[in-house]
């Protein structure tokens, strides 16, 4: 029987400093591992511990994966010290990702905030892989400051794509910023889709998700068509250790991607 707690030995190929607090690691597992966008993995620093993280790379790339990690704790501190040639472990893919197949023929509005850019980059790659399958595609992203916008250059370059309607914003601008200043909900008003039928995807810090959902609902989106990526303390990843319970679900097994209607009545969802 397969041992669900065993990490797969994985080589670190490269470590890229994205922002003062976020690093992207490019890794290659020694066994075949693939993921669907929105699913997460557990990254092991041998002897130190594990953290849950959603790959930020293209799901079509099945050999090399990327994770963009914010430095916040014991394990992420070690991840920030990784360099090419180091060995880590990977467990997964875990949980349920975005049901991209069901997005076919729909209008999509993706709203991201701060650290939510990482999993959403993977989603955007997947949507770009399927370019032409959707009626329209919007990306609205917000960060605290231009300096903290992960993949800023790449994201700004998406603006040249004919298949994407892109707008970005920052809470506080600087001399390099020519775009909108304000929270992400201030750049949603020009979206022109058939709201009751459109798909919304929201990923970011809890407070941002809370307000983005409120706004999308006011605009006419349906609760069952807004996809959220929830963050709880996922540890075992298979619905056993109990740490990430969210109402009648485990975030790790039943999520991390949920439609809003499934979880809106649970307590503690934004805490």
């Amino acid at each position: 029987m397969n041992n669900p707690y065993r990490p797969v030995e994985t080589d670190v190929l490269e470590a890229i400093q994205e922002t003062p607090t976020i690093k992207t690691i490019k890794v290659k597992p020694k066994e075949r591992m693939s993921f669907q966008t929105g699913q997460f993995m557990e990254i092991t620093i041998p002897g130190v511990g594990e953290i849950p993280a959603t790959p930020s790379s293209n799901p079509a790339s099945t050999e090399i994966m990327q994770f963009s990690i914010m430095r916040v704790g014991k394990v992420t501190e070690k991840i920030h010290q990784l360099k090419a040639g180091d060995t880590i472990g990977l467990r997964g893919p875990l949980g349920a990702g975005y049901p991209v197949d069901s997005f076919k023929g729909k209008e999509l509005v993706v709203v991201g905030g701060g650290c939510g850019f990482a999993p959403l980059r993977s989603l955007m790659y997947e949507l770009f892989n399927r370019s032409g399958q959707f009626k329209s595609l919007y990306f609205r992203g917000g960060c605290k400051s231009p300096k903290e916008m992960v993949y800023r250059k790449e994201t700004e370059d998406w603006g040249k794509r004919p298949d994407l309607n892109l707008r970005l914003t920052v809470d506080v601008g600087d001399e390099t910023w020519k775009g909108n200043v304000g929270v992400v909900t201030t750049i949603l008003d020009d979206i022109k889709v058939n709201f009751p039928e459109a798909i919304g995807v929201v990923c970011g810090p809890p407070i941002m998700m809370k307000f983005a959902i409120k706004k999308l609902l006011e605009m006419g989106f349906q609760e069952s068509k807004i996809y959220l990526s929830m963050e709880k303390n996922m540890s075992c990843g298979i619905g056993k250790c109990g740490h990430c319970r969210l109402g009648t679900y485990y975030c790790c097994k039943d999520g991390p991607v949920f439609t809003y209607d499934k979880i809106k009545n649970f307590h503690e969802i934004w805490d």
């Binding site: 029987m1 041992n3 065993r6 963050e231 303390n233 056993k240 740490h243 009648t248």
Partner: protein, 345 residues
Amino acid sequence: MSKCVFLWSGDLKSFIGKLSETYQVYLPVKKGTQRFYKKYVPDLNNIVMGEVRPFEPLKAFFFRAKEVVAESFENRVPSPPADKPLAILGVKACDLKGFKVEDFVFSNNTDPDPFYLKNRERNLIISSDCTCAIDTCFCLALGLKPFPQENFDLNFSPIQDGYIVEVGSSKGESLIKQHTSYFKEVAKVQEDERYRQRNQVLQDVETNLKQFDVPSQDRFQGAVERNFDSKIWEDEAKTCVECGACNAICPTCHCFLLYDQKDEKKMERLRIWDSCMIKDFARVAGGANPRKKLWMRLRNRFEKKFDFFPKVANVYACTGCGRCISACPAKIDIRKVLKRLVIGS
């Protein structure tokens, strides 16, 4: 009724000795006023097959308190050093109900836990009737009887001069066949004796329920949700010292912590029992914690047992064993909390 045979009390030790050839046998031994599971050795004294549940919950033999679950990047499932399967004797009905929850978590899922499954497959369970009740017993409130009705291989009902042995599985059946010389037919008077004795213990537990005014489980539905914003939680959590004894001692609590360690040669991943009463239980590295306050964590414990499990697995994750009542240094009494939730004040 399933097949029953009689074992003379004078043959119990010899039968256990036979079992110990194939199994590592654990059985309840009385020390002071408590019963503890002890590893069988030939000169073991004070064995108690009857009475009430031992101090430790049965889950400890299946979901170990501390276990290596991965070594380096190898896929092999680490095995415990002693490779004999376990035979656990004197298991009570309340602990057997714990399997309904533990099985749901560890086996009944798309990702079964190989450690738990292996123990469930290999270990032998010889349960026994309760022959008395202690004042913390309230199994009847959870719809259980103080004698095992399912989830055992063999069940022993202590009667005068011996035990009525009931077969509960094919594993138990073959054990009887294998040691057929020990067993005799059950006489009608012996069956009657078991019936009388079981009724007596039922009455004892019934008396407990009346004395402590414990509500029955058919009044639990919606009780946690209705009282989610109630003052009950803060009130009950006032004396809690966040020790987690209630979790460790509970036959249904299944939460665990994974942690990694390494020496020069290898790394190990260990799994230890965790407690949802501890402050960091649901905290994420970024700092967010959905249950910052102790009373929120007490509420979560009740929500998990009396709201989550009935919704996802159709079972209340409480067996009425009363261990958490005796273990709590703050004297938080689950019966009292349930009563307050049911009446709503």
